[in-house]
Symmetry: C2
Subunit: 354 residues, 2 copies
């Protein structure tokens, strides 16, 4: 606490990202990074952009990247927005579209940054309970509200909501902005990006951090009616004209264009996920059906906190949330086959001590 | 206007950065970019960081860069903060330290992003008139207020305020945060970074965009008492955990470490500025004494708007602000000697038609 902080700063409880320990080498399955490197074409594009032009400001409108994204999704450039990771875009969206006077809604078990944004912008929120299987009930979002955010697939549960359910929410809330956070959509889910042509209240947010193996480059994108995109731009341009540097822009364009590499790595992650899920079930884990690049698991006998600590001692990092309803679960990112074999073999020893 | 925008979004008047035209090649003297490329060591560091690790998140605490900056300025890491350009840091500072209930102060002629931040965070501000020479009068900042921001050198005037005057402001406002925006400090001004050890109310903001030739990389930094830095971190970590990507971090560390390249390019910019200033005076321009990498000039006879348009037609871009008190001035970035020769020769034809 400092006398120089204002009331807001003193009240904030910042988001805590997964640990990035520097003390030893871990098998790192705690922050949902992709185990495969970015496309070689991305690295090449960045190297080509590493030149004297770095003395010049980037394009504040990010036209080339927005055009690439528009082409990819068959939208117009005016329906696309890009930012410094999907986190920055979500922050702008909370600031642009939600108001203190009306309560916003999101699921009780979800990305823990949402309540942080709400606090940062002085918004009231209500969490809608998911069921015992962590399913989101669309009907419960059809009540008066000031805006909705639904992650699909959800995090940390990995649960996917069939898009018919999203339709119910969008139809019931024509006057509110509904944000669908598709950070993990490319691992088997069905995107609703194309719906932005029909639903002026829909904003779909995605990221290059997961399925494009670019967590280190900080690029997120959003799609919506041009009015929503203009709203995001009004906030962004009142905050920082250039949120994406020249290297991130160059790498992102190359990432969007290399479709075959993208499909190949996603296929591998999905195959590893399915295989690992089966093996975890054999070890007595409940595994929530996943459409993401991670699994959410709970053991029938051993406490999650204990498994977490034992794995960490053995050099394997997973994510444990000490929170009501999910404190018996672990979120485990999908690594390479070798990394998951190491995980399964460690867990075998932990749950079946000889 | 859209029904989905909240009251704030509808009311915003975003900052407008200098134009980055794509229609033709210009001699670009409108956004204060450095005419010299970044240090070769910066490009090498970025190329080395362009590897498979881009799949991993960056260090959210940016420890290596903060350590490099702390070493450079003989401070501790806890006295340093880094962000996505100094613009992002200024936004965080406005949000963290200023309150709607108390009026903040800044000069009437200054960086036009300050009132935009104030509006974004619902802050009241009062502008303190500079004199006819655009000097800032320290005494006028010694009145009740909720915080102060002083750019030194000022933009777009290029005028430097002797640091004794800043001392007056800091001493008179022990309970308010005083931000000194040193974006242009390395071109002949005297930095007050070392004062953060004595003044718990002082936050000094700098950038790699100008004197390190890295406008395209988006790296800014701030120095202050650990309490102020923690305040910035609370806001930043409630907004976006990772605002600097791996490439920006690698390039920034290399930039801070290459002192000799930095000194050499700055010396060249300053020499060109001094020479150009003399030539402009010979052409009948009033040139405000500059300690920045740009000059603020006004012609004794010709309207600034007219000179601006004629230069643009001739392929030379400078910055014109159509605002009270400065609408007879042009802000001209210092380019290479060749670029400034082209400018002077164009201006010679414009002001002395044969």
């Amino acid at each position: 606490m400092s006398k120089y902080w204002n009331e807001l700063t003193a009240s904030l409880v910042p988001y805590v990202p997964g640990e990035q320990p520097k003390d030893q080498q871990y098998i790192k399955l705690n922050t949902n990074e992709n185990p495969y490197p970015p496309s070689p074409k991305v690295l090449e594009a960045i190297r080509n952009a590493t030149n004297a032009d770095l003395r010049l400001y980037p394009d504040p409108n990010c036209d080339q990247l927005r055009e690439a994204l528009a082409g990819y999704y068959r939208l117009s450039k005016e329906q696309a927005f890009v930012g410094n990771g999907s986190d920055e875009i979500l922050a702008f969206a909370f600031q642009a579209f939600f108001s203190a006077s009306k309560t916003i809604l999101f699921p009780d078990i979800t990305y823990t940054f949402y309540p942080v944004y709400a606090d940062l912008y002085g918004l009231n929120y209500e969490t809608i309970p998911t069921d015992d299987e962590f399913n989101i009930d669309a009907e419960r979002f059809c009540v008066p509200n000031g805006g909705i955010i639904i992650p699909n697939p959800n995090a940390p549960t990995a649960r996917f909501m069939v898009v018919d359910q999203l339709k119910i929410i969008l139809d019931a809330n024509p006057d509110q902005v509904v944000i669908v956070d598709e950070a993990y959509i490319d691992f088997g889910g069905e995107s609703v990006v194309s719906w932005v042509k029909e639903y002026p209240n829909l904003l779909v947010v995605q990221t290059l951090s997961k399925s494009r193996s670019l967590a280190g480059l900080r690029v997120g994108m959003a799609f919506g009616h041009p009015d929503l995109i203009e709203g995001l731009n009004r906030v962004k341009n009142s905050f920082n004209s250039y949120t994406l540097d020249r290297l991130a822009l160059a790498g992102a364009v190359a990432a969007i264009k290399d479709q075959s590499y993208f499909e190949e790595t996603n296929r591998k992650v999905i195959a590893t996920r399915e295989r690992t899920s089966e093996e975890l079930k054999r070890l007595g884990f409940r595994v929530i059906e996943s459409k993401a690049n991670f699994v959410f698991i709970s053991h029938e006998r051993l406490p999650a906190s204990e498994i977490f600590s034992t794995l960490k001692r053995r050099g394997i990092l997973v994510r444990y949330f000490n929170k009501p309803r999910i404190n018996e679960y672990l979120r485990v990112s999908i690594g390479t086959d070798e990394e998951m074999d190491a995980l399964v073999s460690a867990l075998t020893e932990i749950v079946q001590p000889s």
